[in-house]
Symmetry: C4
Subunit: 216 residues, 4 copies
Amino acid sequence: MGGGAKRFFPRDSVEFGRVINFSDGLFAIAMTLLVVEVGVPKLLHENDVRELADDLADLIPNFVGFFLSFAVIGRYWVAHHQMFSLLRGVDTGLIVRNLVYLAFVAFLPFPTALLGDYFGNPLAVTVYAAVAAVVSGLEVVLLRHAYRAGLLRVRIGPDVLRWGTVASVSPVVLFALSIPVAYWNTTAAVAVWFLSVPFGIFMDRHRPEGAELLQG
Amino acid sequence: MGGGAKRFFPRDSVEFGRVINFSDGLFAIAMTLLVVEVGVPKLLHENDVRELADDLADLIPNFVGFFLSFAVIGRYWVAHHQMFSLLRGVDTGLIVRNLVYLAFVAFLPFPTALLGDYFGNPLAVTVYAAVAAVVSGLEVVLLRHAYRAGLLRVRIGPDVLRWGTVASVSPVVLFALSIPVAYWNTTAAVAVWFLSVPFGIFMDRHRPEGAELLQG
Amino acid sequence: MGGGAKRFFPRDSVEFGRVINFSDGLFAIAMTLLVVEVGVPKLLHENDVRELADDLADLIPNFVGFFLSFAVIGRYWVAHHQMFSLLRGVDTGLIVRNLVYLAFVAFLPFPTALLGDYFGNPLAVTVYAAVAAVVSGLEVVLLRHAYRAGLLRVRIGPDVLRWGTVASVSPVVLFALSIPVAYWNTTAAVAVWFLSVPFGIFMDRHRPEGAELLQG
Amino acid sequence: MGGGAKRFFPRDSVEFGRVINFSDGLFAIAMTLLVVEVGVPKLLHENDVRELADDLADLIPNFVGFFLSFAVIGRYWVAHHQMFSLLRGVDTGLIVRNLVYLAFVAFLPFPTALLGDYFGNPLAVTVYAAVAAVVSGLEVVLLRHAYRAGLLRVRIGPDVLRWGTVASVSPVVLFALSIPVAYWNTTAAVAVWFLSVPFGIFMDRHRPEGAELLQG
C-alpha cells in the first residue's frame, strides 16, 4: 500500500492496541535477547569448580552489561508506557516515528554485547552511549509530534512541554558527555550515566504545575 | 482438528484479536532477530580503539542490512496494520493466507544476514529481492481474498481495488527489476528498491475517490 | 504461591486473555526462531556467484525444514485457535496442560534443525516425528480436559467428541507410522506426514451433526 | 521522562494491559530461547544412525535442562498470572519491581545452559539455584508491595499474607538448601528442588480461611 495520507486511530481501537502490543513485544524481545549474547564458557574439566569459577569471573562484565542494558531498556519501556498513557490516539506520523524509535531499541543488544566483551575499550563505550543517546532523543521527537499533532488527551502548556523536553533530553546530554570521559576512563564514563538519578530528583523538585501527567 | 469448513470471526471477538496479536508478535521477533545476525567482532587487543574501529567499519554492510531490513519489515507491518484496519472480521481462508505471508516475513532475517555478509554478491541481492517480492505479492493475495470473501468493512469499487493492487504490486515489480541490475552493480540494485518512494507519491496523486481508506 | 486449588477464569477476563497472549507469543517465537538455525554460509570469495549458489543449494534441506516446520507449527496454532474459540473460560487444569503442550511446541526448533542438517538420517526423522506426535497427542488431552471440566461453551455429544478425538489423533498415528518407514527411506517418511491432507478431507465428509464447531 | 511521582493504572486501563502483555511476552521468549542453547550435534557421517544416537545421548542433560527450566519458568508464570489476578490495578512502584523480577526471569536461560552443559559441576547447580531463589524472593516482594500499596482487589488479613509469604518463600529456602548439597552430589541437589511438591501439598492443608484467592 502507498504513501502519505494521514489517518487517526483512537485509543479504544484495535489499531491503537496493535501499535502498543507490537512495541511491547519488541521491547520484551530486545531485553530477553541480551542474555543470548552471554555465551556459556567452554571448560576443559567439566566438573572443575575452580575452572568454572574463573570463567564466570571473566564473564562479570557481560553480566554487568546484561543488567545495565536491561535497566536502560526497561527505563525506556517505562517512559514509552507513560507517554502512550497520555495519548487519545495515534496517527500515521506517530506510527512511523515509533518504528524509527523501535529500530534503535532493537539495535541495543549489539552495543550491549560489545560493551560486555570490551568494557575497557573507549570506543565500545562510545558506541553504546551514542545509540542510547539516539533512543533518548527520539523519545523527545515522539513527545513533540504527539503535542503538535494534538494527540495528547490532557491539556499541557508550553512550559510543561519545555520541562518535559528537558527531562527527556537530559539522558542525551549525559550520554554525549560520557563519550570524551570514556577516552580517559571507561568506568568513569559509565558512572556519568548514573548521574541521571540525582538529575531526575532535581527535575522533580522544579516541575511546573500541570506536569504531574508527564511524570513517572 | 480437521480440515476444510470455513468459519468467520468478527472484529470484536477474542479470535480476531489472536490473529492480530500473533502477527504482531511474529513481526516484532523477525525485526529484533535481525540484530542477532550482526556478530560482535573478536579483537586481538581488547582495549585497542583503532582495531575496534577497523572491525566496526567492516561491519557497516551489516548495520546497513539491519536498518534496511528493519525499514522493509516495518513497512510491511504498517501495510498489514492498514489492511487489517479495513476488515470487519477474518475467516479461515484469511487466517491460512496470513500464515503463508508470515512464513516469508519470518524467513527475511536469513536473506538480510546474507546481504549483510555479501553485499557485493549479486546472488545475495537476488535472494533478498526475491523473498521481499514474494512478501509484497502475498500482501495483494490477502487484500484480494478479503475483498472477494466480503471481509472488508468499507465498500470499495473495483477501480479502488485495482488502484490498491497496483500500489501493492509495485514493490514486487521493483524488486524483480532490481535482480538483473544486481549482476551489473549491487549498489544500483539496492537503489532501485528506493524508487518505491517517488512511485508512492505518484500513486498518491492518482488515487480514485473512496481510496482514502486503503491509504497510510 | 502454592499448589492445588482449582480456579476458573471466564472468557472475558484479563486472565483468559493472558493464557491466549502467552500461547500466541510462544507460537510466534518458536516459528521465527526456526530461521536462526539456518546458518549463513561462509564464502572463500565473497562476490563469487557460483560459490554462493553451491552453498545455498547445500542449504535446501534447511529451507525445506524451515517451511515444513512453519507449516506444522502453523497448523498447531490454527488448531489451538479453534479449540480456544470453543471455550467459555479456562481453569487451572487447562492452564497447566496448556503449558506442557507449549513446552513441546517450544522444543520443535531443535528437531527442525536436526532434520535440516541430517535429512537423510532416519534417527533425525524419528526424533522429529516423535516430538510432533507428542504435540498432536497433547492437543487431544487439552480437548478432553475442556470437555470433562465443562469448559466448552457449546454442547457437544459423545459422538462429536469421539470424532474430534479421531481427527486430532490421526496425525499422532501418521507420525508414528512414519518412523519405521524412515529406516527404509527418509523422504518416504516425510511423505507419510502429508497423508494427513487426504485424511482430513475424509474426516470432513464423515463428521456427525453438531461437529461444525470443532472444524477449521 | 523523569523520576519519582507515583501513578495508578486501574485493571481495565490500556496501561494495566501493557504491563501484563509485556510480562507475558518476556516469559514466552525466555521459555522459547531455552531451546536455542541446545546446539545441534556435528556428525562426521551425516546418515549414521548410531553416531547421531550417541550424540543425542550426550545431549540428555541439555534436554533435561530445557524441560526442567521450562517447568520452573512456567511455574513462575502461573504464580505471576495468579498474583496479577488479585490486583485492582498497578502503580509505578509495582511496575518497577515487576521489571526487576523480569530481569532475573530473562536471565534464567544462562544458568539453564550452564546446567545443561555442566550438570555434574556443583557451581553450575549453585548458580542456577541462586538465580531461581532470587526470582522466588522477588515474587514475595511483588506480593507484599501490592498488599501495602492497597493494590489488591480482595481483602486479606495479615495471617493470610503471612501464609502466602511462607508459600512463596519456601522455594527460596529449598534452592538455598540445595547449594551445599550440590557440593556433595549434584543430582541430589536437583532432587531437593522437587521437595517443593510435597511442601506445596502440606501448605495447602494448613491454609487459613480467606486464602483461597492466593491459591492456584
